[in-house]
Amino acid sequence: MAEAHTLPAYAEALGISIHDVEGGLPILTVDYSSDVEGRPGHYHGGAIAGLLENAAYAALRAQLAADGREAKLKPVNITVQYLSAGKPLTSFAKARITRMGRRNANISVEAWQTDRAKPIASAIMNILMA
């Protein structure tokens, strides 16, 4: 299970780590720093997208490991909705696997800061498994 939760170099370089595991799926977190900053005092939209994407991959890897499957992940697309400003606070993200197919997974992800009920961004993704 530990291996299933290994994050890629990009995630680690950006300061993303695993905060918790909930229902078998990881919650990722990132602290605010200059590396994720866009306009002064706010997260860059790209950094938020990076957090969302990593939460989606991490969830899918965990699910594949739980299912005893091995697969290379190929992202097909991501649609990000920015809901409110990313303030200079710690952010969290967790994905939900809406549909787990044999070749394609449909995933939705939300990112939040202080209040999980008020997400700062959400995304839907298609990821192919080969």
């Binding site: 990009y10 997260y43 990076g50």
Partner: protein, 175 residues
């Protein structure tokens, strides 16, 4: 660009030169961390370069560029294409950004993101773009996005301030 709700009151820079402004924008924060560079621009488009970097790998066991930095590259080029088209810097917020990944970028290759702003309305800017790793006709990704213009209309800000002042006065009156 940065996400929603901007209240920046910096006066607009009256001429927007992407080559010049890039030096400032990409020296710091997330674009600086990624090492983004200015590549080219036209009347309504901007091309930026994301150099190859080992720290941006997306898979534990394969030398493949993560997709996240491509979103950042295209998001940044989007904002700059909007300022190019308007000829001035105004704060914008990303509302929606969609990226379709056609294939992984070549190993050890830089990736270029070119975005054009094809339509601007009073409150929104519509952008589309591509990412490639050397041959613009052989895309790595395509994208479409919508951005919201913030505080571009001084009258709107004036009205807002007046409304807030009136609301405060009313509150004080009641209290």
């Amino acid at each position: 660009m940065t996400s929603l709700s901007m209240t920046d009151t910096t006066p607009p820079i009256q001429t927007f030169d992407p080559a010049q402004v890039s030096k400032m924008f990409m020296a710091r924060a997330h674009p600086g961390w990624l090492g983004l560079e200015y590549a080219d621009h036209g009347e309504n488009w901007v091309e930026l370069k994301l150099p190859w970097n080992e720290k941006l790998l997306g898979e534990p066991d394969r030398p493949v560029l993560a997709s996240g930095p491509i979103v950042s590259l295209l998001d940044m080029a989007s904002g700059m294409s909007i300022w190019c088209t308007r000829g001035t810097f105004v704060p914008v917020a990303t509302l929606d950004l969609r990226v379709d990944y056609q294939r992984p970028a070549k190993e050890r290759s830089a990736v270029w993101g070119r975005v054009e702003c094809y339509r601007i309305t009073k409150s929104a800017a519509f952008v589309r773009g591509t990412a490639h790793d050397g041959d613009p006709d052989d895309t790595v990704a395509t994208m479409a996005g919508v951005f919201m213009t913030l505080s571009a209309d001084p009258n709107a800000i004036g009205k807002q301030v007046k409304a807030q002042a009136e609301a405060r006065a009313k509150e004080n009156g009641n209290g």
